[in-house]
Subunit: 461 residues, 2 copies
């Protein structure tokens, strides 16, 4: 949405100039949350986290201050249509669609960002059309608020209808909400799905009726060939929130959690207020509790409890498979695609992906059990983390069990890379740690990297 | 790169407040260009085009004013590494990669935006790591300038090396430059490739040598398994510009073009100056000529010359194939995936894609020849256009030849949707015109839409 000076402004903001009272209030609330996690808010990696979170949240909810009228005005262009009775085209009746707009919004139930693909169509009327980019910009105004998918679709639709005054507007959103497992259940549910996906739509004018012919044209152009109008979630079916914080078996917020962390819950409520929201709005009443419950997964003080006796050790070695290759008579083994879930300590936002571990087996062992390696990965995931540290910690821990020849590759998607101002939706990251022979022997590294299947990066994105 | 107030600033700018002298100078130059195309600069669709072009160019070259130091400072975090001799991990030596950053830059040879995928890696040193998003932000600083792929890679690499002071930096860019056919050659070359693609890389420190082991790790993590270091363009091989304005058979700028349009060439040179560039810099000397030659493809006055006798008509009807289906004893035919090239009149930026035409044949004809339909599509493409108008004009023209039952679907990528502030890289658009039976009969529309193969949208993106 660039202005020429935005880079400049951003820097000033980084330097602490121009902070407004809302930003300071959010910073203070984030400090309470960090302290509630048992963290030292003056630790170097965390000292600017409150400001980063405040900036991201304010930037991510700037839609409250934006007016659709300002965006659409000046971007309505006269465009001749064909004569009535002949057909529909141009500025009178030819369907216009913009597909595959990647956007993100904030879930009002849990305060986490969610990604969505937005498809917008409208049927021009009155011999005028709107600049195509405005369909994206208007969608973004409503995305940059605390949202629920259906309301988001409805608000985009309604705003475009009033702004453009066309014959009708159709909006379809494919929304993806991250679904972190709870730290308590992560070992119980190995088939945990990392996402909740919903498809919602909204229509006005000629799209006002879900059975209208206009929808058939719209869906035909979206190539949602398999998706019939009936399959699109009707408004009734989304009355139940899609957010995992509502729908998981852990949905009920334990009263003891709120009782034990009243300052944290109050801090989140105050953040909602600082963003210009009403924390007592029906949909937001439970949000502070949801957010705190999720955040407590990454508590610093309870780490040793998480592994359920992991420290007692190496119980399931001596498995006969998993050999990748051998080099100088040493046997290389690997364990690929161990899932991990973590929390970026710079932005208090999730990152997640897969860990690949390669190692040369010590004498007398064939290979180490997958469940132990997965436990180590989970152990270091459920913390306030940075990917580089996670990678090192896994490598060092595996090394302490198996000896010194270890290579760890972590491939991740960072919510902080797809949200905030950066919005690099397709990007993903990889980090390496190499110990022992892997550090000195390029052939060993290459052999392990070769063993990682090509599809890995796309699996996580 | 969001600041909280950018939406607000943007609106003020739209309303004409805060225009600086450079913006006004670019506006004036763009008016000269529009007049050179034979356009009326006061026509409603064009009246704000000079301001839009000026804003896009200034926004798209804001990198000249940005400092990498401001971006990286405050985002360097202490991070423990493993002991020297044990291996490389964390803040000492573990490779860190951010993959698949979608960015755009401006080609210094022709002033058109080009897209690229950026992969950046670095090896941390001195017990510190940089925030992952900064790799993208720094790349963007150099992308937002007039560039050549190799220099872009080198500048990103060098800036990150000096900013982070790591053991080494690796940068790899996959750059895509749009390659419009010249209006004179479009009928001669049916196999015209719409893109020029180059892969460039740059390395510092441990990546300083192209044969360094570090490159093997980097490439292994990029999954460029088929790409050996040797295959990456060496710096020597890119001394010849990749830009089609240089490398096409039309590369030499005809002196008569410059002589005939001295005001336009001078106007483009003045734009370069307004952006803070030196128009006499070696790589920029021919840029005004290239831009004007490309722009003249869309000249308003020469349109009737473009079709090489198209008006004389229907010479190749009566072909026996191409029937899609029939409805009420009328036979529906379709011609799919006719390529088009056009120029968005709101932003003076290319849009391109495919046109699908469906029609019911009049008595006595089986179907209309593909070459005639392709000619009509090219005719309306090579203009300052909007997609809605293009769609209508094709429908009306085909209707005037074949009678009234016509459906036209245009699927397009708009450079103005992937560049400027909007940067919606995966997005694409579709427009429909329906005449006669297609306007009144949803089953006819559905039958035609069904005949468009699923892959079309991905073909154009």
């Amino acid at each position: 949405m660039g202005s020429l000076d935005e880079g400049h402004l951003c820097v000033e903001f980084d330097n602490g100039i121009e902070k407004d009272p809302e930003t300071i209030a959010i910073e203070d609330a984030v400090k309470v949350l960090l302290q509630g996690l048992g963290e030292d808010v003056n630790r170097e990696g965390l000292v600017k986290t409150p400001l980063r979170v405040a900036k991201a949240l304010r930037e991510g909810t700037r839609g409250y201050k934006q007016k659709v009228k300002d965006i659409v005005q000046g971007a309505l262009f006269p465009e001749v249509g064909v004569h009535d009775g002949v057909g529909h085209a141009g500025g009178v009746g030819g369907l216009v669609i913009v597909r595959d707009l990647d956007l993100f919004s904030y879930c009002e139930s849990c305060l986490l960002p969610f990604q969505f693909k937005c498809h917008v169509g409208y049927v021009p009327s009155g011999q005028r059309v709107v600049g195509l980019s405005k369909l994206s910009r208007v969608a973004d105004v409503f995305a940059k608020r605390l949202q629920d998918p259906q309301r988001l679709a409805d608000e985009i639709c309604s705003a475009l209808h009033h702004g453009i005054k066309p014959a009708g507007v159709a909006v379809m959103l494919e929304c993806l909400h991250i679904h972190f497992p709870n730290v308590e259940s992560v070992f119980l549910d190995s088939k945990h799905q990392g996402w909740v996906k919903v498809l919602v739509s909204s229509g006005s004018g000629v799209f006002g009726n879900e059975n209208a012919d206009a929808w058939v044209d719209f869906l035909g152009l979206l190539k949602f060939r398999g998706v019939t109008v009936e399959k699109i979630l009707s408004k009734d079916s989304t009355k139940q929130s899609w957010c995992p914080s509502h729908s998981s078996p852990m949905a009920k917020i334990p009263p003891e959690l709120v009782a034990a962390n009243p300052e944290m819950v109050a801090a989140v409520a105050s953040i909602l207020g600082s963003l210009g929201e009403d924390p007592s709005r029906k949909e937001l009443v439970e949000t502070p509790g949801h957010f705190v419950r999720w955040l407590m997964n990454f508590q610093n003080t309870k780490l040793e409890m998480k592994l359920n006796g992991f420290a007692c050790g190496i119980t399931d070695l001596l498995k006969p498979n998993g050999e990748v290759g051998s080099l100088n008579n040493k046997h290389m083994h690997s364990e690929l695609n161990l899932s991990f879930w973590s929390q970026c300590e710079h932005h208090l936002l999730p990152f997640y992906g897969v860990v690949h571990i390669g190692y040369f087996c010590p004498k007398g062992f064939n290979h180490i059990g997958k469940s132990l390696l997965q436990s180590i990965v989970h152990f270091y995931g459920f913390k306030l983390q940075v990917q580089e540290r996670l990678t090192r910690q896994i490598a060092e821990t595996v090394s302490s069990i198996l000896g010194g020849d270890i290579m760890v590759v972590v491939e991740a998607n960072h919510t902080c890379m797809i949200s905030r101002g950066i919005e690099k939706f397709g990007s993903n990251t990889a980090t390496i740690a190499v110990l022992g022979q892997f550090a000195t022997d390029p052939a060993a590294r290459a052999m392990f990297l070769e063993s990682i299947p090509d599809g890995t990066a796309s699996q996580i994105s």
